[in-house]
Symmetry: C2
């Protein structure tokens, strides 16, 4: 475990425990199967990054009420709903070192429990009694589904432009993290400039977070990742390391890369051969630099807030986004 | 076409046209695939029963604003989202005489576009700026997903009790129709007794509506139904005609029925042989009577309203629920 991770976990221990409790006590289902399927995805080592960001954002804006942990589960339930549906959409086999829920409980249960978690998120959002929060959750949920659909129709498109990739990850990943931070500010009834700063913090952090995730698919080993490496590529998902390298490579190497990407029978060795080309043509470095730039921009947004332990922890979480991810 | 249907369509023509327009103009997607998949399910002959109920309920409570048609699409989008996911869950082949969306566009698109329609419903609900409406939509969406899950885990349970069946259909079907009528009253800022009466009207109507649908699965022919008859039974869905007949039959015939239900290789002829037993042991009559009783109770709820053309049309719609269904 990195020192940064150890320190974050120590500083956030009490909040994380309270979030864990809230995640268990707000499911509100009368059906064992929902508990099992939702539990499979909710209690399998997620780091509660999104609810923690909401709780800390609220605190940074002076919130001292009792409902922040309850409201924070919106962002973990929405995330879990998306994972349940995505694993089915992507025909994934593993997540966090375990078989995906739909392989254990069936596609039907995964679809319907995902729907239930979406619905629970909405009900908890409605319980805030804040129209602004509710509208934001609606818009985030629309963004997420459209981002996923956009990604689906872009699969195998070797001409996917960087701009379009950025739009996809903004919707499918960054919108939710932006929403978590923004909602924290809204719950605290923060003045608009502070709420906007936290929204921008979350948006930039979310972009970096997804880029780091996309890099991991090429660089991590299966044990750390909890799923097979190269999965994105096998599914035809075009992510920034590849998009950049394809653009930067001379015609002959670009052709070689395209042959691997488009070959439905490509072997594990083919994928391994691709990685040095991603490195040679700057795909890895470029993605790392872009992610770092987004993190810097995220951190800059917090300049409007005075120094505090909460701010320090948010800045550490921003740095951590580059290092590891769920 | 029945006379009742002809008369309803004539009386509701202007509203139905405005609802149709609202369904098209509120999708708000930037993706062709979403338009196609959502359009496949939204514009394939649905009767707009739910939005029409909302619009009429609002009018019955004196609403004369401009947003009723827009808000009414919530109930058709939620319905369409459920159909997209259910057809995948049930592994259905046909709906309304067309192949199901997931068989044309794939499971991934059906799941994600369903999610998008859920999200759009929420956003449109949020646009009412009425917390009570939003909370109700959240609760309905939870009910619907839990009703579907309850139905899923009850598949093949030949001991399913009538009480449990009633709970399943209340959640999966009646809650949405109840919500449509109730929301109409809320939009009109109706006094609580009128809002409650309309909610109860919708709940009872929804129960009857689902029972009529369950009967159709045994009694209609494929051409009228737009999907194969006996589909519920083949999927192991235990509905009221069967539940009642099983309970009423003597041991030997009950055993025969159970053998057909539990036989995974049962033929079309086996299902056809089952129908006379459903009739003999009162399953068909009992379901018809129950549905009629719910319709009567629905209509009684409207006693608190003065006579009007709108009330007359709502009463006609209640009678129509027994006759045909989508």
């Amino acid at each position: 475990m990195t020192n940064l991770k150890t320190e974050i976990l120590a500083r956030a221990a009490a909040d994380l425990e309270a979030i864990e409790q809230a995640l268990r006590s707000n499911l509100s289902t009368y059906l064992d199967l929902v508990e099992k399927v939702a539990g499979h995805i909710l209690f399998s080592g997620g780091k509660r990054f999104r609810p923690l960001l909401m709780v800390l954002s609220a605190r940074l804006c002076g919130y001292n009420g009792n409902y922040d942990k309850t409201f924070s589960v919106i962002f973990e339930y929405l995330h879990a709903a998306t994972l349940l549906h995505d694993d089915l959409v992507d025909e994934a086999a593993m997540r966090r070192g375990k078989p995906v829920a739909n392989s254990i409980y069936g596609n039907a249960a995964a679809v319907l429990v995902g729907d239930f978690l979406l619905a629970r998120s909405l009900s908890i959002a409605a319980a805030t009694d804040k129209i602004e929060v509710i509208k934001s959750i609606g818009a985030i949920t629309e963004d997420m589904s459209q981002g996923e659909i956009h990604q689906l129709i872009s699969k195998g498109n070797i001409h996917l432009a960087e701009k379009e990739y950025l739009e996809v990850i903004r919707r499918k990943t960054a919108a939710l993290i932006q929403g978590a931070c923004h909602t924290g500010a809204l719950i605290a009834e923060a003045p608009p400039p502070k709420a906007s700063a936290l929204a921008a913090f979350g948006l930039n952090l979310g972009m970096a977070f997804q880029m780091a995730d996309d890099l991991l698919d090429y660089l991590a080993d299966t044990k750390i990742l909890g799923k097979e490496v190269g999965a994105d590529l096998r599914e035809g998902k075009m992510t920034l390391p590849l998009i950049h390298a394809l653009q930067a490579a001379p015609a002959d190497d670009r052709q070689k890369m395209e042959n691997i990407i488009c070959n439905k029978d490509a072997t594990a060795q083919d994928f391994i051969n691709l990685i040095p080309m991603l490195e040679r043509y700057g795909g890895i470095d470029y993605t790392n630099q872009m992610a770092a730039r987004y993190v810097t921009e995220a951190k800059n947004q917090l300049a409007v807030f005075q120094e505090s332990e909460t701010k320090k922890l948010l800045l550490m979480l921003a740095d951590f986004a580059l290092m590891r991810n769920d």
